[in-house]
Symmetry: C2
């Protein structure tokens, strides 16, 4: 598989290509030029060609891209041709929101269990997915294939639990806890969703926008 | 206000500086060199200096950074010295999870209302925050200061509602709907949280990691 030296900036753009190509496919479009794709996606055609060249190109000069082929190839690059089993640690609102989001399954990401420490949640199900007690984690991971753990518990507990998961052989963490995890094993892939950071970026851009409009009062 | 030509890559790193400086402040650290900060944050000292120089520097050669001052200045850059009122459109699991997350308030982001179309939710409160019916949106926005709208409804409805919000004078959108919004007004700032994209990036890195371990079966 290619991809060893590809920057995360390129990788961040690939899901967006996948999404647009999926929409084209649904609309019955069979072939598209990088210029047309560029206009739709509001990135330069040169950017698209450069991004895709990281993986070997996929286009024939003058013929554009075969939409279905490109969609499937990007799917493979993103690992969407295999199923991923997810467990969610923390069955509060966010954990339950993830479990309720059925669309992840269409991409091959299947949430198979939630875990919590609150006894009131024991055995409760969310969209048919059972909430287990956290002390059942070791047994569950021994008996089930788990590929990804989503962490939605408070940040104070995140690192301890992440290392416990890594010890159980889970090498991918989808981290919603507002902390950078330092793990015992360097070979773990981590994807952070820091909602507070995202809000701060938004608020930076609000301030900047107001400043450009001349509405900002300097302090 | 500075910041007009600062890249979003720099802006993406600022909340992380803010978070680390906050932890140092809590730990009673008064002053830190860019080298020490660099080791803690696992970025180069040169990167830190470059990032902060975008905003004028803040450090004195040989004296390091004053933690409290730098924390507060970055807070101002990120617009955290003012309060932001948020409404959440879509009071499903994700909308309710956002409303339940009390920590946003410590950063000055206060959720003042949720909106939904499900009559069963009318008047229900989440952590004291009331769920309104969507047809009450115009009245609510006329009577209340609203700075940010968080969109957690299905993607099919997102663009229509986003444009309706823009028409009501809301110029910042925190978009959780899995679609790129095309808005009537170019002057709106949008911050996307695409959870599916994030999962796909994670799965790309899983595939890549497996490939490096030699475990991947090429097809």
């Amino acid at each position: 598989m290619e991809g060893k030296d590809i920057s995360q900036a390129v990788i961040r753009r690939m899901p967006r290509y996948y999404r647009y190509l999926g929409e084209l496919l649904d609309a019955g479009v069979e072939r598209i030029s990088s210029n047309d794709l560029s206009r739709r996606m509001n990135v330069t055609a040169s950017q698209i060609r450069q991004d895709l060249n990281n993986f070997g190109g996929f286009g024939q000069q003058g013929y554009g891209y075969n939409v279905k082929y490109l969609y499937e190839e990007i799917g493979k690059i993103l690992g969407l041709n295999q199923m991923h089993h997810i467990i969610v640690i923390g069955a509060g609102n966010l954990g339950q929101a993830l479990a309720n989001y059925a669309k992840f399954e269409k991409l091959g990401f299947v949430i198979i269990a939630l875990f919590d420490v609150n006894p009131a949640l024991e055995g409760v199900t969310v969209r048919g997915i059972k909430i287990h007690m956290l002390d059942d984690l070791e047994r569950f991971c021994a008996e089930n294939q788990v590929d990804i753990a989503a962490l939605t518990m408070p940040k104070e507990k995140a690192e301890t639990i992440a290392n416990r998961l890594v010890g159980l052989g889970i090498h991918a963490i989808w981290n919603f806890a507002h902390v950078d995890l330092e793990l015992i094993d360097q070979d773990v892939v981590i994807e952070n969703v820091h909602l507070s950071d995202s809000l701060m970026q938004l608020s930076y851009n609000i301030v900047k926008n107001n400043g450009q409009d001349g509405q900002l009062n300097e302090e």
